[in-house]
Amino acid sequence: MSFKKQLEQRLPHWIEQGWLSFDGAAHILDDVAGGEHHGPRYLTLAFSLLGVILFGAGIITFFAANWAAMPKLLKLAVLFSALWGSYALAGVFERRDLPLLAGAMLLLGVILFGSNIMLIAQIYHISAHYPDGVMVWALGGVLVAWLMRSQPAMVAALGLGVLWTGLESQGFGRAVHWPFLLFLAVSVPAVLRYRWRIALHVALASLLLWSWFAFMAMSSWGRGSSAAIYLVQVYFLAYLALFIGGMLLHIRDGWQALAHTVQRYAAFAALGCLYLLTFPQLLRVTRDGAEFWWLATAAALLLVVALAGWHYRSHAASARPRFLNWGLGLLGAVIVLLLANLAAERQSAGVLALLFNVVYFLGLLWLLQAAVHLENRVLVNMAFFYFAVTLLTRYFDTFWSLMDRSLFFMGGGLLLLGGGYWLERQRRRLTRQIAVHGDGAA
């Protein structure tokens, strides 16, 4: 049922109770109806964007098919005038207050800039390192996004950035493609400044993807076979720092929606890392390269502690929520455990894994409290998801070799049924609690 229909059903009761005047109810319905009329605008946007993409693809294939028939100078003239024409039209539409069409023309300009790079490379037989062409294309998109405040251009640029780093790290075997972080450093300030939520999703997803590529390359660094385990620790701390960064953003007026998005991606990645550290099998590697990772761990730790301290101090003692206090205690326990893991030998893997499990489950409980306080429903769902996955994992770990197979599966089935029911009830209770207080995140 749509929001408007729900209101139409509830408003007479509210008028009857005297909570709302008849005129007030009519104004509310008018306002909501006006808001629902935004639908066709999005349809216009969707058609414009689709048209732009089809037109851009048509231009590329037209040139591919008529490659031989045109002299070089004519090809260049067509390429440049198409590029200039799209930006000129964007200006015209902007002046005539047609922002959707102007945005579509800007996106066409970005597409044409990239197709021109490819076609000029074709005309002049340039076959040099082609990810460079994708990088230049992406930077062209960032330029348009910054100057014209165009979110579609930024989304396109970030997508191209992902393609660039994917080509460099996977196609050309760059160990760790650090320049992508510079690319994000010039893109993300615009995303934050103009509060672009879709672009922020793409930027954070691209950061996660880049860090996966980097993980694959860095896990062989240093001596010994334990690099991956230490690297997971550094990654956990880095994403924890990002999560705390999201909490800092949350306490600034008007930034809650963006803060929610940052917290979700950061929590997803940090929990994933901590989850890996709960496996004794993974911790039981030969420990002979830890000294290589002390510096990276220490740097990440400093960052986490500094951000946590900043966040803690930004609340007056009287207004400080309880979950922050025990969160700091939990952070201290995690730090001690991470350092112990750096200093430990493989024989201690069992004890360490047990302690990591304890910290992990406490962390999930803390996240639930934090999610309610931050009014972030997705974090509640995420905590329950990780809780369920880890519960099942531990069940398999622990009972697979101990129980008769039929008992194991029956027990697992009951655990799924009973645990799933209980978890779902708890999840619904908490998300309802957040909904009552008003969830800033859509």
């Binding site: 590329i60 294939t61 591919a64 098919a65 490659w67 031989a68 002299p71 070089k72 100078l73 260049l76 390429l79 440049f80 590029l83 200039w84 930006y87 000129a88 964007a90 200006g91 902007e94 002046r95 300009g109 800039f113 021109n116 790079i117 490819m118 076609l119 000029i120 490379a121 074709q122 005309i123 002049y124 037989h125 340039i126 076959s127 040099a128 390192h129 230049v136 062209g140 330029l143 348009v144 100057l147 014209m148 050309f172 075997g173 760059r174």
Partner: protein
């Protein structure tokens, strides 16, 4: 900032980037020393960019032990290959990390560095320090449908390329030769 200024900045910067690509290639074609290189064509099709031929040059794989210069290269290193005239093809004489002065030098990037290679003449895997280099002149676009003909030359047909090499080591294909006769020639504009 006014809308027209913002659009102008975008147009100027993007145009300069594209014009820079054109100008750099044109400058190499106009001022470079022409060298003829032996080659074998492979792989003739690009989905979006029409027909093209990828060339595997005789200088694409270099035996470092048989050449002067440096011999400690790894993947992604930039190399400068000194060429000397031969009959009918130019041959590599030395390989360096830095560009040597006053010689015809082609700039490339190491794709692979290895200690062993397979010798087709002896049929053995031999201990030879070598590098595979990409120079940015490996692709040549031809009219639709002609790529496959170049990929599979008829018997006794030899394909070579005349490449302009500028003083910075950049190469640009000037002409494609079949049995030493020009089949395709690149012109200024």
């Amino acid at each position: 900032m006014k809308l027209s200024y913002r659009l102008l900045i975008i147009v100027v910067i993007q145009t300069l980037v594209l014009a820079g690509m054109v100008a750099k290639r044109q400058w190499t074609l106009a001022t470079g020393t022409p060298v003829v290189l032996e080659t074998r064509p492979v792989d003739p099709r690009s989905l979006f960019r029409g027909d093209y031929v990828t060339f595997n040059y005789d200088i694409s794989r270099l035996n470092l032990q048989a050449l002067d210069g440096d011999d400690d290269f790894s993947r992604h290193d930039v190399v400068y290959v000194v060429l000397e005239p031969g009959e009918p093809y130019w041959r590599p004489r030395a390989v360096y990390h830095a560009p040597p002065a006053g010689q015809v030098t082609l700039r490339g990037t190491v794709q692979y560095a290895g200690e062993h290679w397979w010798n087709p003449e002896t049929g053995n895997n031999e201990a030879v320090r070598h590098v595979t280099v990409r120079y940015g002149i490996e692709d040549y676009f031809v009219p639709e449908g002609e790529g496959r003909a170049l990929e599979r030359p008829v018997a006794d047909e030899t394909i070579s390329l005349r490449v302009a090499v500028d003083r910075f080591g950049n190469g640009a294909i000037q002409a494609l030769l079949i049995n030493g006769v020009e089949r395709y020639r690149e012109t200024l504009f």
